[in-house]
Symmetry: C2
Subunit: 199 residues, 2 copies
DNA sequence: AGCTACATACCAACCGGTCGGTATTGACGG
DNA sequence: CCGTCAATACCGACCGGTTGGTATGTAGCT
């Protein structure tokens, strides 16, 4: 018997995180008590504080899970050095599919994004701003080069993209008729159609 | 003297609402205590509960302030019976300018939109869904009529629009270089460019 | 024995909300 | 013009319950 107790094979720490993720996404961070988290995870408060130093650490962990993959993917895409259209399509595809795959985490995080500024989160927020700035820079450069139409500013275009991913958790259903890949395709087609139209 | 005390001419009830609005937008509803609200408003808890039955009423009031104007404007626009492009442009213009004019209220409300389902808010949420459905229906019909390109589903397009307004409070500055009218114009141009491009 | 992995019991602070009280007001009678 | 009265506006102390967090205990593995 590898472990001591009833261990359903999930790992207590992971189970706590999953429970917190569900509850934060449903009710919000502040509205969720530590007691609710441990009840759903099937542990006690002592157990939670054995693995996490504070309630906020749960959020920070989700923060990291959501952003780290996206940032890594961004670097990989940019490193290819392809043309703006291909690059922007790749970014949109990654962020839509990635966000859909972690919709509960994304829901929990995106809602509290504005609030948190407790030192440990500032680094992550800065990383996220870098992501956004990369997208805007890509669009800006392509517009200057005449590859994209200057129909709208990079800010408005980028927020159209991020707005979809931020709201994805409110309407996307993984068992629905439209898979994330198709949504990504639609969004990329729509954005590129606007960006390639004649000025 | 018309009034009794130091009354800066603001009206206590209005001052409480303004204070709550700022704090909810900054910290979120749950993270803001009633004590914080009354401290900033310069009144006491007894004073607040004289005007409002519960903390939630403050949110509901903002809810109403944000939505009622938008819904009324929507009906006015739709009643004109103009073509889809004009109608969509008018809607985008109204929602961007209107949201920018009430950015603090919008920030407070949009963040808590998913959470609240306490009977009184369900009516307002239903109204808001009706708004979204009107936009999607407009796009869907125009696509069926061949006026708009079917490049993306009405859902994705509409969330591109609402995504911008939902995130407006994070980057829009009323004293910034770009007025709300210009952002509205850009967004409308961008969306229509995508929607009018050849399939 | 000592370490990890939890459980149990508990705490001070704070939460939203209530309540009895007071100061000020406008309406009305005389 | 004054006195009376009820209503309004607001105060500040207080309540039960809940919060995030901790100190201590203990069962099992090494």
């Amino acid at each position: 018997m590898g472990r001591s107790k009833a261990e359903g094979g999930a790992g207590v720490r992971t189970r706590i995180l999953a429970a917190a993720c569900d509850l934060f996404a449903e009710q919000g961070y502040d509205a969720t008590s530590v007691q609710q988290v441990v009840d759903r995870a099937g542990v006690t408060k002592g157990g939670l504080y054995h693995y996490f130093g504070a309630k906020e650490d749960l959020l920070v962990e989700m923060y990291r899970a959501v952003f780290s993959e996206r940032l890594a993917a961004l670097d990989t895409i940019l490193a290819q050095g392809r043309d703006p259209e291909w690059t922007l399509r790749a970014i949109i595809d990654d962020i839509v599919v990635g966000t859909a795959a972690m919709r509960r985490e994304s829901a929990a995080v995106s809602r509290e994004l504005a609030t948190m500024d407790s030192g440990r989160t500032q680094r992550l927020q800065a990383d996220w701003r870098r992501y956004q700035e990369a997208v805007r820079g890509l669009i800006r450069q392509a517009q200057q080069d005449g590859v994209f139409s200057p129909v709208a500013s990079p800010e408005v275009v980028s927020w159209s993209i991020f707005g979809v991913t931020n709201s994805l958790h409110t309407w996307f259903r993984p068992d629905g008729p439209k898979p994330a890949e198709m949504i990504a395709r639609e969004l990329a087609d729509f954005v590129l159609a606007g960006l390639k139209a004649p000025a």
